[in-house]
Symmetry: C2
Subunit: 289 residues, 2 copies
């Protein structure tokens, strides 16, 4: 790969994450205005493209992906999982030979499986998941999406070229991320079912069981923190919940088991057992940092 300043980077989908990646590349000085490299954006929404051009975050914007697929050294595919799989199937013939591809989908199993078997030999696709979302979606909220110090997961394919993997890792750190974890799609989906999907299900359930909008008069921060993510992107999360349902259901059941145990201690006024559980929890959470 050429150095990043000399790359033409395409972004398919200028939503929250696509927009934030454009901003990290441009405002972060990786592909500054006037460098040999360029940032090209594709989105179905013309207003989004106009906004990104006006902000100087992309050099050119397109409602159709062809110019990007033909003209880029590297492409960030910032689409929901199912849309990404459809896109790859439909557009596989259109990419320029040698292009490095990466995605941002919150579930990796189906994507790794599809790319291991259907990706063209002359392309390299490194599946990734930047852990830096926000409950507020869309390009207009992209600038609130802070990459600094955040986690980024990569689930490389067996065939990924070492130099491309190193190039992408360097790029991710230069975009501001603090930690990259390389793992399998299976481990990603298992762990994310807990840290992300289960948390979103819990937030939704908390709001589902209370209809009083004045309840926030009694909020002291905990309720607000636990339910912020209840304002979720419905199509994306529905897709992720259903696609990763086996792992997610297993995690919900684990959580229900723990909740039931604590409920039992409270119901039985088992002070010692309750304190011992809270002590383990406190120490464990502290160790998690």
């Amino acid at each position: 790969m050429k150095t990043i300043e000399n790359n033409t980077v395409g972004i398919i989908g200028l939503g929250l994450m696509g927009g934030a990646i454009a901003m990290a590349l441009r405002s972060g000085g990786l592909i500054p205005p006037g460098s040999r490299g360029q940032i090209l954006g594709c989105d179905i929404d013309e207003d989004t493209l106009a906004a990104a051009r006006a902000d100087g975050m992309i050099d050119e914007g397109f409602t159709s992906p062809e110019p990007i697929l033909k003209g880029c050294d590297m492409i960030f595919l910032c689409l929901n999982p199912a849309t990404l799989l459809e896109f790859m199937e439909k557009r596989m013939g259109d990419f320029r030979s040698g292009t490095l591809l990466t995605d941002i989908a919150g579930i990796k199993g189906p994507i790794v499986e599809a790319m291991e078997t259907t990706l063209r030999d002359d392309l390299d696709f490194i599946p990734g998941h930047p852990m830096a979302g926000s409950e507020k979606g869309g390009y207009n909220n992209a600038k609130k999406c802070d990459f600094h110090g955040k986690n980024y997961i990569l689930t490389p394919l067996r065939r990924n070229k070492r130099e491309n993997l190193e190039f992408l890792k360097t790029l991710i750190y230069r975009m501001g991320f603090g930690r990259i974890t390389c793992t399998t799609a299976e481990e990603h989906d298992r762990k994310i079912a807990f840290t992300s999907q289960l948390c979103h299900v819990i937030a939704a359930a908390l709001i589902d069981c209370e209809s009083d909008q004045e309840i926030t008069r009694f909020g002291g921060g905990s309720f607000e923190d636990l339910t912020r993510i209840a304002m979720l992107n419905i199509p994306m999360w529905t897709e992720i919940f259903l696609e990763n349902r086996v792992e997610l259901l297993r995690r919900i059941e684990q959580f229900e088991g723990s909740l039931d145990k604590i409920k039992g201690f409270i119901a039985g006024k088992q002070k010692e057992e309750l304190q011992e559980t809270l002590r383990i929890v406190r120490n464990r959470r502290a160790a998690m940092g």
Copy 2:
């Protein structure tokens, strides 16, 4: 009551909240150094008293409460609920006649009940709950306790004097709080079981069901937000969970019902029903502000 600048205010218990109240009174300029009013602190820990004196947050510190009970116009009782009830029973004879008392306990039923029946006729006690805690306890963390814009709940006794209630409300706003809700102890305990205690139980259950400390490599903010409060003050929360267990158990069961419903939609791949629930949740949370 005299204007606040001329009051001698006592704080029994210089933990997180007692310390934060001292700081709001002193640094917030309500009882500035050199004013006729004074801030007196009582704590069992001499190092805490020394730190609060060195910081200029109290004018005098005592390990025994007598000088405060005899010498103050107003006293903040910053003790855990059971300790507060024991303290009031033991010290009822020691207060100076006419003193205005208030507390900060996170459960109000037992306190209102005890004070309605046992409070001396010549004292006024306005039960309160500042909704501005933190998972990090103790005087050393008090400066991180931000009152600005936060909720404060008051559950007045039938006998509270109107002028004392107005005085306390003005003081609370001047300490930085953004909204005061006056309600019954019953409503407080019912609502707080949801916004606070249930949230703490959920956070604890989330950590209880995952022992992998490296799980934070897969965190993107949701997990961190939902489990921050799992680092809880064990004696205080054990007491609150058990004391308010009837309401808390009811809330846990409501939450389990909602969780079970969402789990069912995921298990049954009921996309429409799942999306509809998430839509209601999203709108409701947005309306909560």
